[in-house]
């Protein structure tokens, strides 16, 4: 079902959790709510579910306002980060809970449980209690329980955070498949940009209780609206430039002034893939020494130091790395093929620029 939030705000005590958020989720989409912890993404999920009520603003489902509609009547499936399985019930008891509440006949319940057992590969687990299950199994039971009553929308709070890497990968693929099969609207919360990029049709990026950007994965990656998004989604080289003699400079690097006068400042950003490297030191204008190579699967990330000490990051395929015969300590030449202006003096581009925010090292790997 389509969901719309109009100017929604929510405070916990005096702490603002969500500030004046407006988003629209079309029917049938798979949406990621992405942001660092404390950015309000889980609160938005709980507001949609009805587990929290907004201080102001409206929540609309298929055009009808549901602010006053209690959780039970919203027909949503909610998956908690901790799964919140009923510990005193078996897997079967958990899955049929919502069906019994709805007063389904026992034949209908039986058929539904069979369908879900097949869909979620729960064979042989139905008589077990939650404490007898592994993390991945609990996750699937939680999904089965949420899907059983046939919700219009599935809301998932950090669904893959608590399972190990290999199972997480399988669950992601599974989620995409289930989304295609069931044609459900699914919203899931994550702080993992790679997960959001891989799974979602569209990503809503949160920071400090506000929406920074909404867009398809490629869109937010290639056209971030501000520095926060640029830094949070993928790796970005960010430079602060100052205009001297009509040229914007940082150490030895020079860029067009973009209409700024001498003494004015500008911030730019560029992705590692925009930094083109050659082993031929006369091929490009700038020189640098390779300091460290990170292996990211089929791609490698190079950390290179310019003569001035400035560090830039580049990305290169394994084949190119081998073809150019590169290794740590080699001197290379490079050029910056494209960049984005993040902000000009007196003319900020984004609504908010979170300069203090550091992308955790485990995020951004592989992109």
């Amino acid at each position: 079902m389509s969901i719309e939030l109009k100017n929604v705000s929510k405070h916990f005590g005096t702490v603002p959790a969500v500030q004046d958020i407006s988003i629209t989720v079309p029917e049938g989409e798979l949406i990621a709510l992405l942001g660092p912890s404390g950015s309000g993404k889980t609160t938005v999920l709980r507001l949609i579910a009805g587990l929290e009520s907004p201080d102001s603003g409206g929540i609309f489902v298929r055009g009808a306002q549901v602010n006053a509609l209690p959780v039970q009547k919203r027909n949503i499936g909610f998956i908690f980060q901790s799964y919140a399985l009923f510990k005193h019930m078996t897997v079967l008891g958990n899955i049929r809970f919502g069906l019994k509440i709805k007063g389904w006949s026992s034949e209908r319940i039986k058929a539904r449980v069979q369908d879900l057992t097949a869909l979620l590969d729960l064979h042989g687990l139905l008589e077990r209690y939650p404490h007898q299950l592994s993390g991945g199994q609990r996750q699937r039971v939680a999904i089965g329980r949420a899907l059983a009553p046939g919700p219009d929308v599935l809301l998932m709070d950090e669904p893959f955070a608590a399972v190990d890497a290999q199972i997480r990968q399988e669950l992601r693929l599974w989620l995409v498949r289930v989304h295609q099969e069931l044609k459900l609207t699914i919203l899931f919360v994550t702080h993992d940009q790679e997960e959001a990029m891989e799974v979602a049709d569209r990503i809503i990026i949160f920071s400090k209780g506000r929406v920074e950007q909404i867009g398809a994965p490629q869109e937010v990656y290639e056209k971030p609206v501000n520095e926060f998004v640029a830094r949070f989604v993928g790796v970005m080289n960010i430079l602060e430039l100052e205009v001297r003699d009509g040229v914007a400079r940082r150490e030895e690097l020079e860029f067009p002034a973009h209409g700024l006068a001498d003494g004015q400042k500008m911030r730019i950003g560029f992705r590692p893939y925009a930094v083109q490297v050659s082993s031929n030191i006369t091929a490009y204008r700038y020189l640098a020494v390779l300091r460290r190579t990170y292996f990211l699967g089929v791609m490698l990330r190079l950390e290179m130091e310019l003569p001035s000490g400035l560090i830039l990051r580049s990305r290169i395929s394994k084949e190119d790395y081998a073809r150019l015969g590169l290794a740590d300590g080699h001197t290379v030449s490079f050029q910056i093929r494209s960049y984005r202006i993040l902000s000009k003096e007196d003319e900020p581009l984004g609504a908010e620029v979170a300069t203090a925010y550091e992308v955790p090292p485990h995020l951004g790997e592989g992109i």
């Binding site: 587990l51 908690f80 509440i101 592994s134 199972i167």
Partner: protein, 286 residues
């Protein structure tokens, strides 16, 4: 998608690495056992030995004495009234304290603990001061012919006061540890408030609740101080089992007080066994 199931198996400990070969280990265990034997087991055994010292006949006659039977009945009635009331109150208070934020929460929490910190005799006196002839409500009660002191209502009130904390105190940590998520899950699955309470909240703490009730019951049946102050010690009318034991003992009866005491001792043993069982069960609820 089937991951290895490593949550229920626990690796067997290496026997050679286990501590316990140290003599200090044995000394400590022996000291603890000796202490328990002298101060706990011996008196208990003595109660039974004294009770049966003249054989089963006198033992049985002591138990079927009309005043003793009346004391048994009264004790059961008091427990039957107080335990359910305190169970309901305990669940409500624990639920409110563990799962909601409200003004006065800390106050309610200390109020629940109050009976633990007040001497039962003082607790009994509180009711005398409240309902006695010269008490706060004494005159009004007299005029309206309501008997509270030296009658069942007063004894029930005193017992409720003393056994107030047991259920709530047992449930609060369990409910806190569980959080609100299971209940929220039930709500998202369409369950209303009552259904959530009956099918999720209550069953998920059932062993802890049972444990609290067992403790509450043991204390309700065994309470002496508070009940003694408000009962008036009318034989066959307001004597409970503990009061009956004292009275028989003061009459220098060689068998009867011990015979009645065996009933309370058996209650204690049954409580201990249930406690051990339920503690094991509640571990899984946390």
């Amino acid at each position: 998608m089937n991951g290895p199931d490593n949550t229920i198996s626990s690796a067997p400990e290496n026997q050679a690495q286990r501590p316990g070969r140290d003599p200090v280990h044995w000394v400590l265990i022996a000291a603890a056992l000796l202490f328990a034997a002298v101060f706990l087991v011996l008196p208990l055994v003595n109660v039974f030995a004294q009770a049966l010292s003249l054989g089963l006949g006198p033992y049985w006659r002591a138990l079927i004495d009309p005043d003793t039977r009346s004391a048994i009945r009264l004790t059961l009635i008091i427990a039957a009234i107080t335990v359910p009331l305190n169970a309901v109150f305990g669940v409500a208070a624990a639920w409110a304290i563990a799962k909601f934020e409200f003004r006065g929460k800390a106050f309610l929490l200390s109020l629940i603990d109050l009976p633990f910190s007040i001497s039962p005799v003082v607790a009994g006196l509180l009711f005398v001061l409240l309902f006695g002839v010269n008490g706060l409500l004494g005159h009004w009660l007299e005029v309206h012919h309501v008997r509270i002191l030296f009658a069942l209502p007063g004894m029930v009130l005193a017992t409720i006061f003393v056994t107030f904390p047991y259920v709530a105190r047992e449930l609060i940590p369990i409910m806190r540890a569980q959080g609100r998520e299971q209940e929220e899950a039930a709500l998202t699955l369409g369950a209303g408030g009552w259904k959530t309470f009956w099918h999720v909240t209550l069953p998920s703490v059932r062993w802890g609740l049972f444990y609290g009730i067992v403790l509450c019951n043991a204390r309700a049946m065994g309470e002496f101080g508070a009940v003694s102050v408000v009962s008036g010690h009318i034989a066959g009318l307001t004597d409970t089992l503990p009061l009956r034991v004292e009275k028989l003992y003061n009459e220098f009866d060689p068998v009867a007080p011990f015979a009645v005491a065996t009933l309370l001792a058996l209650l204690a043993v049954a409580t201990m066994v249930l406690k051990a069982l339920l503690e094991w069960k509640t571990q899984r609820e946390r």
